[in-house]
């Protein structure tokens, strides 16, 4: 089973967990219906769309309402520390959660108590906490964008907001940032660096780069990084090896852009709809 952990931007949304599925243009979880706008819902929708063309295990969500005050995230952290050991998960992806080092460490301990250790993916706020905690190497995948890679490379920065200026650099410097992130043990064993050029990295070594097809407007569209993490989650669940799954995720995101030819005003839900078509092209060897 695939597990995805994250938040919904509504403080009144309860803590829920259960199988996720589409219901029209929304995601249904335990009789709650949530719009696919961006962030964790975009990630979940992307994973579900992949499962329409690739045989994946059931996708299970853990969601709570949180608008940034952190109350919901802490409630979810507490639930997971108490209950994770009762779930049988192959893949576990953590996403938009209030970064909190203490809770992060409790979650890692709870994972140690699971019967089988799932493949661990961290992105967004939970990746920030994982880096801050000094436990980045406990993860199989981080999926930063170029700016977040600079944060991982800055051994002192506790949040991307405090990344030091000399580390923020151009796309050409990304390989150096990859090295620096690994030097200070602030990167997971595998990285997908999402950007104008995507980098697939394993233990500090850049195995693959992808830069076409390329659409500048994707940078402006909220949620286009979340879709890559969602596609990756599903592909790993389907049994693809880490490097292949990483490469296919980045390629799929590029093909959906090519299919839609987006502008900076395009919304991520329009792109997500194109995932099955893009995935079929990849599986048919047309890319």
């Amino acid at each position: 089973m695939i597990g995805i952990v994250g938040t919904v931007p509504d403080d009144n949304f309860p803590l829920v967990h259960g199988k996720i599925e589409f219901s029209g243009d929304k995601i249904k979880i335990n009789n709650n219906f949530v719009s696919i706008n961006r962030c964790t819902l975009a990630l979940m929708a992307a994973a579900l769309k992949v499962s329409e063309t690739v045989k994946c295990p059931e996708i299970y969500g853990f969601l709570v309402g949180d608008t940034g005050k952190g109350y919901g995230s802490r409630k979810l952290y507490e639930f997971l520390t108490k209950n994770l050991s009762s779930f049988d998960l192959d893949i576990l992806t953590f996403h938009y959660l209030q970064p909190d080092v203490d809770w992060h460490n409790k979650i890692l301990f709870a994972i140690e108590d699971m019967k089988k250790r799932p493949v661990l993916i961290a992105d967004a706020g939970f990746m920030y906490a994982a880096k801050m905690s000094g436990q980045a190497l406990s993860y199989d995948f981080f999926t930063p964008d170029a700016g977040e890679l600079a944060f991982l490379a800055d051994e002192l920065a506790p949040h991307p907001f405090y990344t030091r200026g000399f580390i923020l650099s151009t796309d050409e410097d990304l390989p150096l940032l990859v090295k620096r992130a690994y030097k200070h043990e602030n990167a997971a064993r595998n990285l997908i660096v999402k950007g104008k050029t995507d980098y697939i990295v394993k233990n500090g070594e850049i195995l693959k780069t992808l830069d076409s097809p390329s659409f500048d407007s994707m940078e402006a569209i909220g949620g286009t990084g979340d879709t890559i993490t969602g596609i990756l989650t599903a592909l790993l669940g389907a049994g693809f090896d880490f490097t292949k799954a990483g490469e296919m995720s980045c390629l799929c995101n590029r093909i959906i852009a090519e299919l839609l030819n987006p502008t900076p005003a395009t919304q991520v839900a329009e792109l997500i709809d194109k995932i099955p078509e893009a995935m079929l092209k990849i599986l048919d060897g047309k890319f």
């Binding site: 931007p9 608008t67 940034g68 801050m132 436990q135 700016g147």
Partner: protein, 176 residues
């Protein structure tokens, strides 16, 4: 057995998510402490590290991620920290570089990890991207589709450092 020992290992960056607020004088620290504790905040008053001893002998340690919200709460009582820095990092400063990207009909401004994009024609916010804290989707929902003038100010409704970064990007794009 291995798991038992793992649980004995202390995380190596225990205070990595804490920040320090420095004030002009001690009485401000005491007032700030009173206000923040009254609202149930997880803060403590401490002595400052040597590199930020600027006359005040007390600082407030707080969860760094809540910087924006705490500052807003203090500003209601006209208390403004002289400086805010992460714990254990010397004098790290917030990202101050802005990147602007012109897409023709649209313009995007990035501050730290947050990006805001508007249509040049009517200054309508068409997308908000980046970030990782839970107020990002909330802010995006409240702001996208509105003009810069109609949009709520992210500094007023955001709560985290991502919200803070978006506020900086918003202020920058207002100048365009």
């Amino acid at each position: 057995m291995l798991r038992f020992f793992k649980k004995l290992i202390k995380p190596k960056k225990k205070s990595a998510d804490r920040g320090i607020m420095v004030f002009e004088n001690t009485s401000e620290v005491i007032r700030a402490e009173k206000i923040l504790k009254k609202t149930g905040r997880s803060i403590s008053v401490m002595g400052p590290p040597p590199e930020i001893r600027t006359g005040c002998d007390l600082v407030i340690e707080f969860p760094l991620i809540e910087e924006l919200e705490l500052k807003r709460e203090l500003s209601k009582s006209n208390i403004f920290p002289a400086q805010t820095v992460p714990v254990g990092s010397g004098l790290l400063q917030p990202v101050s570089l802005f990147h602007t990207k012109d897409f023709g009909d649209f313009i995007m401004v990035r501050a730290a990890n947050m990006k805001i994009t508007i249509s040049k024609k009517d200054r309508r916010i068409v997308n908000i991207s980046g970030g990782g804290c839970p107020d990002v989707p909330y802010l995006a929902e409240k702001m996208t589709g509105k003009t810069l003038e109609e949009s709520p100010n992210p500094g007023d409704i955001g709560h985290t450092l991502c919200g803070y970064a978006l506020q900086l990007a918003y202020e920058e794009i207002l100048k365009k």
